[in-house]
Structure formats: structure tokens, C-alpha cells
Amino acid sequence: MKNEEIDDVLKKVAQTPQDLDLRLLERIDESIKPSLRPVRPLPPVWLMAVGLVLVCSAVSLAGAARSGFFGAAKMNLLERSLVFPALGLLASVAAVSFVHQMLPASRLRLSPGVLLALSSVALLAAFAGLFRDYHTDHFFSAGIACLLIGLLHAIPAGLLSWLMLRRGFAVNPASAGLVAGTLGGLAGVGMLELHCPNFQAAHILVWHIAVVPVSAALGAMLGWELHLRTRFRARSDER
């Protein structure tokens, strides 16, 4: 059987008259009529993305300002000019992606999984090329401390980002949470690069970068949980 023949079969089925009850449509009309007021559409994508990048930068800078800019002070010009623009670029991509996640039927250029992989691999490549100290002093104790500090900044950055786009609607809350978590994770890494003076390659490659996937996983779980709570609340309201 040819594709055209299958098309014909599907067209025949599609042309079957639709016996939709007009009373159902009237009920829908009546249900929306009382609350029909003019609404303000969401701002342009670029504006929301810029806002998200600014929020994340503010969280990173505020954290580093409180703890000290030891990492940024220890970096040479090449390291500074590669690490921070790379983080900024990735954060911009994640911000645009998050905005698209919060708009139904947006054209998605990067899936959440690809965004997470791209962010992690790009950071791995940049850091592996820049930091050549292969000592592993206090690998676990210093590493876990950095991971926690990074997450402590990633979580508020992700939550503030979500709060900023609260008027949006995520058709896939877990994906949206994953992207928000990735964005927050990049803010956490930014804070660590500004603050952490430990330039051992293994420390940075493992513990600093781990902030991104851990934060993304937390974001996905939180997104799903929020979705379930919203649904439960909506059902309770209906009853």
C-alpha cells in the first residue's frame, strides 16, 4: 500500500461529519463569559530572557559579594575572559529555552536534555582546557562544600526565575523545571567561579560542574511536584 492511499484513507475518516452537541458549546460559552476580561499578553521573549539572565547574575554576584571574590581575583585575564563569557552565553541560551518552555506551542530549538548536556559538556571542555593543576587535595571535603554552596545559590536563582515567569504556562512542568534548574545551576557555577580559589582541575570538573545536573534534577522534581499540587488544588476547587 502506498503512502498516498493511506492519506486517502485518513482523509475519508477526517471528513466524517462531526456530531458535536451544540449544548456543550453553549455550556462552554457560559462558563467563560463571567470571567472574560481583557488580559495583558506576556512581554517579548527577549525581554523575559534578559530579565532571567539579570536575576541569575544578581544571585551569583550577591553570593560572591557576601563570601568574597577570591576565585575571580586569582584568575588570570585569559581565564576570566573565557569562563565568565562562556557562563553568560550558556545562561542566555538556558534563559531563552526556559521562556519557550513557559509559552505553549513555542518553537523549541533545544530540548531540555540537550540543553543540560550542552551546558555540562561546554563547561567541562572550557574548564579542562583552562585549569591544569591535577592535584586532588581534600577532594571530597572541599568538593562537597563547593557543591552545597553552588546549590544554595542555584536553588534561589531557579526559584526566582520561575517566579519571574509565573504568568507563563508550562505544558510540560517537569521539562520546564529541568530547564529552570539548569539555568539556576549555571548561576550557582557562576557564583563558585567568582568565589572559589581552588583551581585544581578535578575539583572544578567534578564538583563545580555537578551543580548544573543536580540543580536540573531538583528543578525537574520540583516542577512535577508543583504540577501535581496545582492539579490537586484545581480538582478540590471543582468539588
Partner: protein, 219 residues
């Protein structure tokens, strides 16, 4: 509400359209095109955002049959499809501000409908664990409309996502780009699903029941 927003002439037109819509019965898309030449879904959507009840009403009459058919294509009873349609419109109404002027409106409607359907599917999977719910599901199958049965039988061998793609692309006549937007996916991924779906349909329609669908869908 709409009386203070839209011009009176427009209200009268829409009232007439709705009466004629009822007169012509089923073919609401024909009515829509005949009466709203020069006014597309996107324009209506913007007017709906501005609080125009007439535009909302026309959208409901134009989009609902398509969404209803979309729900029926997913092996769903007619009562479930009616419920989901109402639920979808309530959600559309709640998040109407997320539609952006200039973007295609049809994928936006389908993206929300798909979200509602996925929710319903998860709920029904959980409910199916209980015996009582299983009985209700079997009742639901018996109340499926003839059209839903035909479409369901045709798309039965396909996976959930393949059914969705075929229903939007071939039954509803959406473009690849629109389907990709509605599914939050890429055009490449949609093409791949269509290719696999056609492969399965070729095997099923061609091999098991030759002539069944070719002769107008009646076994």
C-alpha cells in the same frame, strides 16, 4: 461583558453566524470560513485576549470540533471527550494571555489540549488499577461514537505519540511545523514519527484487511 467591548454590529453578526451555524448543523469549519473571510484564528485570538466575547464564541465553535475529534482519536469515550473539551476550554481561558500575537494559534490550542489529555491519561491509568474503574472504562468503550471507533481502529496499531502526530497532521491537516510546536518537539522528530507510523499503517492496512479501508472505511 462583551457588550462594552465590541461594536454592536459585530455582536449582531456573530449572533447571526451562530444561528446559521446551528442551521447548517455539523460543518462548522465551512461556516467559519464563509463568515469570517479575512479574519483568521490569530486575529480572533487577539480579540479574545482583549475581552471580546464574540471572538471567543466563534473560536469555541471553530476549534471545538477539531479538539473533540483529537480526543476521540485517543481511544476515548464520547463522555470523556466532552469533559476534556470543557476542561481544555477552561484552561485555554485561564492562560489566554500566553498566546503571542503573530504566532500560529492552532498549535497553541493543541498544545493545551494535549496537556489536558496527558493529564487525563495518567489519571485513567491510575484509576484502571481499581476494579470499579475498570468497569467504567469498559462502559466507556461501548459508548464510543462510530466515528471514534473508525479512527480508533485505524490508528490502533500505533503508539500514543504516533497516533497524536497522525491525528494532527493527517486528520486535522496541520503542517509539520505546527505539529512540532503543539508537541513541543522538533520537525525532525515529527517526521520520524510519521515515517514509523506510516510503516506500521502500511503493514496493518495493506496486509491484514486489504480493501477494508479503501472501500470507505466500512468493514
Amino acid at each position: 461583558m462583551w457588550g462594552c467591548r465590541g461594536p454592536v454590529g459585530r455582536q449582531a453578526n456573530v449572533a447571526r453566524h451562530l444561528r446559521e451555524d446551528a442551521d447548517v448543523g455539523e460543518d462548522s469549519s465551512w461556516t467559519f470560513h464563509r463568515m469570517h473571510s479575512g479574519e483568521n484564528l490569530e486575529t480572533l485570538m487577539v480579540r479574545y485576549q482583549q475581552g471580546d466575547f464574540a471572538a471567543a464564541s466563534v473560536l469555541i465553535r471553530h476549534i471545538s470540533p477539531r479538539l473533540h475529534r483529537f480526543f476521540l482519536a485517543k481511544s476515548m469515550s464520547r463522555a470523556d471527550a466532552d469533559d476534556l473539551l470543557q476542561e481544555t476550554w477552561l484552561r485555554i481561558h485561564k492562560v489566554r494571555h500566553t498566546y503571542r500575537n503573530g504566532e500560529p494559534a492552532l498549535p497553541w490550542f493543541y498544545a493545551i489540549a494535549r496537556h489536558i489529555r496527558v493529564d487525563h491519561y495518567r489519571k485513567s491509568v491510575r484509576a484502571a488499577a481499581g476494579e470499579r474503574e475498570l468497569e467504567e472504562m469498559s462502559k466507556g468503550v461501548t459508548t464510543t461514537s462510530p466515528q471514534a471507533g473508525e479512527l480508533e481502529a485505524l490508528l490502533a496499531p500505533l503508539s500514543e505519540s504516533q497516533r497524536e502526530v497522525i491525528a494532527m497532521l493527517k486528520v486535522e491537516g496541520m503542517s509539520l511545523e505546527e505539529v512540532a510546536r503543539a508537541m513541543s518537539s522538533s520537525v525532525g522528530s515529527v517526521k520520524q514519527k510519521v515515517h514509523r507510523a506510516y510503516k506500521k499503517l502500511r503493514e496493518t492496512i495493506g496486509a491484514t484487511t486489504p480493501g477494508k479501508w479503501r472501500s470507505g472505511g466500512q468493514a
